[in-house]
Symmetry: C2
Subunit: 230 residues, 2 copies
């Protein structure tokens, strides 16, 4: 019953699986029209502006979804395993990827032929209903992140990301982050130097313990508070 968006805004992790609603026959239909692909860390999974011939299911790994624009990109979300990427591409006849996605770590994806996916939506209303739920979930997450990046200051944003990573990605208070400081900066929409300074502040104040890429949340409540007030 939470009606605010101040927290855990960056990671999109769907609670819905649309595929559960498929009939046996439809499942086979999907099986026949998908391929499995491996992406190495750093590789582009889909490219903004190119033809979207498929919907992407991230079976294993971690990816960022972002809008490309010089001089700097805008990361829309990070997507852990179990999520769909490219759903907005089924919008209108064009089938163009509206964003790019890249692998943060080695990842395994399944590419589902887009017309297969569209056909399922038109054939199976329960499946479509699930898809709508996934899209809406995604919208909620984007709204949260939108708010975060536009209305919070640096410390709030970094606190937010740290909590987000701990809660939603690693699901523990101590984790080894596979991102560079530069990638963290892109994620929080700030300069690399500022990321470093804020992390140092948190470290000096005992809110986190940080050595290189190992992070440990020491004062969860305080970080939450910083995240809230911006």
């Amino acid at each position: 019953m939470n009606s605010n968006y101040t927290n855990t805004c960056t990671v999109y992790d769907s609670r819905f699986s649309c595929f559960e609603e498929l009939t046996e026959e439809q499942v086979k239909f999907v099986e026949r029209n998908k391929v499995k692909v491996l992406f190495k860390k750093g590789e582009t999974i889909c490219k903004q502006g190119s033809f979207a011939s498929h919907i992407i299911y991230l079976r294993e790994g971690l990816a960022k979804v972002y809008l490309e624009h010089s001089p700097r990109n805008l990361v829309l979300k990070i997507s852990p395993s179990g999520n769909l990427i490219g759903l907005p591409s089924i919008y209108d006849g064009n089938n163009i990827f509206l964003y790019s996605a890249a692998a943060y770590v080695d990842s395994e994806v399944e590419l589902i032929e887009i017309n297969t996916f569209k056909q399922l939506i038109r054939e199976n209303a329960k499946f479509a209903y699930r898809v709508i739920n996934v899209l809406n979930e995604n919208t909620v997450q984007i709204y949260g992140r939108f708010f975060c990046l536009t209305n919070k200051q640096l410390h709030g944003r970094v606190a937010d990301i740290l909590l987000c990573l701990a809660n939603r990605i690693f699901k523990t208070n101590e984790f080894n982050l596979p991102l560079t400081r530069n990638e963290l900066a892109e994620l929080t929409n700030m300069s690399t130097e500022s990321v470093i300074r804020v992390l140092k502040d948190f470290n000096d104040d005992g809110l986190i313990e940080m050595t290189g890429k190992t992070f440990k949340i020491k004062n969860y409540d305080m970080l939450s508070k910083i995240s809230e007030v911006g």
Copy 2:
């Protein structure tokens, strides 16, 4: 085939009408389960966090859709007549409004009972497919605005809004704006004073002609350029 998001980002104006896909019987079903309501300028059409018992169709008027948060709100989009508000509320079992909406001008809306709407989605896959398109269109628009507010500077944002209003709302280069400077500031996520200063700059440089609330776009190309480079 445009793959960037630099322009006309604030107004959501759907090209899709989902209702065309309904059968006669379903149309009657909707008729029986909707009510018409008038809202005066400034009134709240829906309230973030409250129960969403209905989907809102804006038949006539102009509204802002926004996240509530002190000290300041975040406007997600402005919605002209002919659009649906509250679709993300059908996400999961909760049926809570994820955002608030308020009328910029006197507006006429139709409230469609939410379970009616849900039932239509589950019954009619073509209808659901249309709804998905509407949601995706909305997502595209939000991405554009997200980019605009996070990566553009003041002049770029104001140029953006002006073009947006001219192109999408008033559909002419000369219009009378029913918004205060303060509302413009909220819309561009900047301070009222900054809005005034930027508008003055544009006016002094001959890009626009402005007297009070009357605006005239004088140099469309230059404004576009400013909007692009941020």
